[in-house]
């Protein structure tokens, strides 16, 4: 009985400890941001691997999500004779929810897992300790550029996702199902608000960028330095990122759009 209690206590203390280490790491990363300005080369290289290489999956997914929204939206709206509002439905759901959330989920799968594996292997092969031996702060040199690259890339990728999705919805709605061309755009422009919808979506994706990059880097930095540990850390990155994104999305939506 006492043993059970002790093991429960150990689990609780362990997770609190990890939470504390995660926050210390975040402070360390943010503390290194000022050095980033002096060495933009590192940031560019990381933005390439995190952002540029994610463009293809983001735009292709965005196109298909937009096309599906066009089909499903038309099915529902045509029952009320309101096909003209298809543009509003597609754009609002993309800009407010699907753009930031699906981008963050794809980002966690595409870039976050790669970051964790990279950092975890660096730790397993003692490259991080090597840097420390040379009096180079590995957090500032290795983690901060990756974090900054993730935070910069996420809103841009989410914007691409939404833009391509709106065009995908246009292809299906106007091209395939015969919604009026002008109504699609004009209804959209009349109902979608720049500050209320578009800016709030960007804020969401910025938050997701911080959270996903942080989780990925922490899991890599905190991984058990074995091949099994790295593989487990990579799995944890994807799972934790997905849960954090979906949970935070609810909180952010409630705060932003809760009371009209």
């Amino acid at each position: 009985m006492i043993d059970r209690l002790a093991s429960l206590g150990r689990i609780g203390l362990g997770s609190l400890e990890r939470l504390g280490r995660g926050h210390l790491l975040l402070f360390g990363i943010i503390g290194g941001l000022s050095d980033m300005v002096r060495r933009p080369r590192l940031l560019i290289a990381q933005t390439h691997s995190v952002g540029v290489l994610s463009i293809l999956i983001i735009t292709v997914s965005g196109l298909f999500v937009g096309m599906v929204l066009g089909l499903q939206g038309h099915y529902i709206l045509s029952q009320f004779g309101a096909e003209e509002t298809l543009g509003v439905m597609v754009a609002a759901s993309l800009v407010r929810e699907l753009g930031p959330v699906v981008t963050a989920l794809l980002f966690a799968g595409r870039a976050g897992s790669a970051l964790t594996a990279e950092i975890g292997l660096m730790k397993a092969t003692e490259q991080l300790s090597g840097l420390e031996m040379m009096a180079v702060n590995p957090i500032k040199r290795v983690l901060t550029p990756r974090f900054a690259a993730g935070v910069i890339s996420m809103p841009l990728l989410a914007a691409m996702f939404s833009a391509v999705g709106v065009i995908g919805g246009y292809f299906v709605g106007v091209g395939l199902l015969g919604v009026d061309d002008g109504a699609y755009w004009s209804q959209m422009q009349a109902k979608i608000d720049l500050r209320e919808d578009v800016f709030n979506g960007i804020i969401k994706s910025l938050v997701f960028g911080v959270v996903c990059s942080w989780i990925a880097l922490f899991q890599g930095y905190d991984a058990t330095p074995t091949s099994e540990g790295v593989s487990r850390a990579t799995t944890r990155t994807v799972v934790h990122s997905a849960l954090a994104v979906l949970g935070l999305d609810f909180v952010l939506t409630a705060l932003m759009f809760g009371e009209d």
Partner: protein
């Protein structure tokens, strides 16, 4: 070095594409291109009942949007709704005997204010108010009236 250069170019292209997407969302998807709220003048109108009118609802004349509702207040003394409208500055000649009505777009659509111009030579300026108004049609009231008149017809018939 040249590898770094191609990487720089690709990152530059990535960021440019991202900003183009943001610009597309701002200009084509949202209402930024249709909003001209900064310049205009405001006029007021009093309604007995504004129904489902909201701030940012359209103000139209002959079906063309000429402004937006910017404020809805309640007058404690007269129990009326005071609606403030911002009219685009290009629309200077709204007669001061204009009739303001609240219409509904479609059967279940949004409500908006329609202005019917009067014949006066004097025009409304900033802070002017529209004296002639007609309230929103509330569906329940119409149904009530129809039922009432039907009942009366029935009485007469007997």
């Amino acid at each position: 070095m040249s590898k770094m250069r191609t990487m720089e170019i690709m990152v530059g292209a990535f960021m440019a594409t991202g900003f183009v997407a943001l610009f597309f969302l701002a200009m084509q998807v949202s209402n930024l291109s249709t909003v001209t709220e900064s310049n205009g003048y405001s006029i007021k109108a009093r309604f007995d009942n504004i129904g489902g009118l909201k701030v940012r609802s359209a103000v139209t004349m002959a079906g063309v949007r000429i402004g937006r509702v910017t404020g809805i207040a309640f007058d404690d003394n007269t129990y009326e709704a005071v609606v403030t409208m911002l009219i685009d500055s290009e629309r200077k000649s709204i007669p001061d005997d204009t009739f303001a009505k609240i219409y509904t777009a479609g059967l279940l659509g949004e409500q908006y204010i329609g202005l019917d111009p009067g014949g006066s030579e004097d025009y409304l300026g900033d802070g002017g108010s529209i004296p002639l108004t007609q309230s929103a049609l509330v569906l329940e009231e119409i149904i009530g009236q129809v039922l009432f008149s039907k009942a009366e017809e029935g009485d007469v018939g007997e």
